[in-house]
């Protein structure tokens, strides 16, 4: 896989991370925090919703302990991503720590669906993760520095991340041996979207999904 092919895989994330990162940077500048904190946060935290949450907590002067706990709980869903990557990352070198660090929703989605020959896997995964983080950093720094003065109306461009998840769901569905988990996940997702509190929707839905997957293992595997 050459660099251009890898870059192409990450374009949807580029289209989503730049405007989302800018929205984050903009919010940060509205709190009168200097722009280089946007840079530090996007380098060292690298979690979209986690960083927005951190800003909200900064604004309400939450204690550092509260920030730690809230961030941990918000990002707990990433534990499921790691769980799906154990055997893939198993034989990678020390660089896998960066891959683990960079396992955002979108990076996970790309890594899980990209088809890479085993011998190139570590390198390709690293490039994908680095590119994604670069988009995020660029977006957040530009947002923090330039703020509102951008000339074009890019409202709605973050829908590319929704479309990315839609497309990757179809890809995984086609590859999956079992099809029941797909339909069960649609029901759980719908249920979660309407009935769970938005802040906790993702982690609650993922827990329900894991629970159903495990408890109903036999019926998931029966039929098709």
């Amino acid at each position: 896989m050459n660099f251009f092919a890898i870059f192409k895989l990450t374009i949807p994330v580029l289209m989503g991370y730049i405007p989302l990162g800018m929205a984050f940077g903009l919010l940060l500048s509205k709190l009168l925090i200097p722009w280089y904190y946007a840079l530090f946060m996007s380098i060292f935290i690298f979690a979209g919703s986690g960083q927005f949450l951190a800003l909200t907590l900064f604004a309400s002067q939450a204690t550092i302990l509260e920030i730690g706990i809230a961030t941990f709980l918000l990002n707990l869903r990433h534990t499921f991503y790691g769980l799906s990557m154990i055997s893939t990352f198993k034989d990678f070198s020390w660089k896998k720590h960066y891959l683990i660090f960079g396992l955002t929703d979108e990076t996970f989605a790309l890594l899980k669906t990209s088809e890479v020959p085993e011998e190139n896997r570590e390198k390709v995964y690293l490039i994908i993760t680095v590119l994604n983080q670069c988009y995020w950093i660029i977006g957040s720094v530009v947002g923090a520095m330039l703020g509102n003065i951008l000339p074009f109306n890019y409202e709605g461009i973050e829908f590319s991340l929704t479309a990315l998840f839609v497309v990757l769901s179809i890809e995984l569905y086609k590859k999956s041996r079992l099809h029941k988990p797909f339909f069960v996940a649609i029901i759980i997702g719908l249920f979660g979207m309407f009935l769970f509190p938005p802040q906790k929707m993702l982690i609650l839905s993922l827990c329900v999904a894991a629970f159903v997957l495990i408890v109903f293992k036999r019926s998931m595997e029966s039929g098709k």
Binding site: L32, A163, F165, I170
Partner: protein, 108 residues
């Protein structure tokens, strides 16, 4: 805001985020994952991805104008294009364009 507060908070948020991503790797560093863990590893990603779609739509106001029409159309366009042409980039790009057009020009 004091810089010591911000730096401390960023370090803590960074470690907390990394911890959530690292936990499963620590749990299964030495022991071989059981068949159950392998089953989860194999089937959970599809469920995660589907749930992420709904997560991305969680802030849509379904009960008030424009009733999430743009989001529904965008998702349907993405599905239709992807089933027909199997080109991820094309599906994502056109679905986003349609969505942006709808919320900027039609449903405003």
């Amino acid at each position: 805001m004091e810089s010591s507060y911000l730096v401390g908070a960023i370090i803590v948020a960074s470690l907390a985020t990394y911890a959530t991503r690292l936990i499963p790797f620590l749990l299964f560093r030495t022991r071989e994952p059981s068949p159950l863990v392998k089953y989860i590893e194999l089937n959970m990603p599809l469920m995660i991805m589907v749930i992420l779609v709904f997560y991305a739509l969680k802030d849509v106001k379904w009960e008030a104008y424009p009733y999430g029409i743009a989001e529904i159309v965008g998702v349907v366009v993405a599905i239709a294009l992807h089933v027909k042409f199997k080109n991820a980039l094309l599906s994502i790009f056109l679905a986003t364009l349609v969505y942006m057009f709808l919320i900027q020009k039609v449903l405003c």
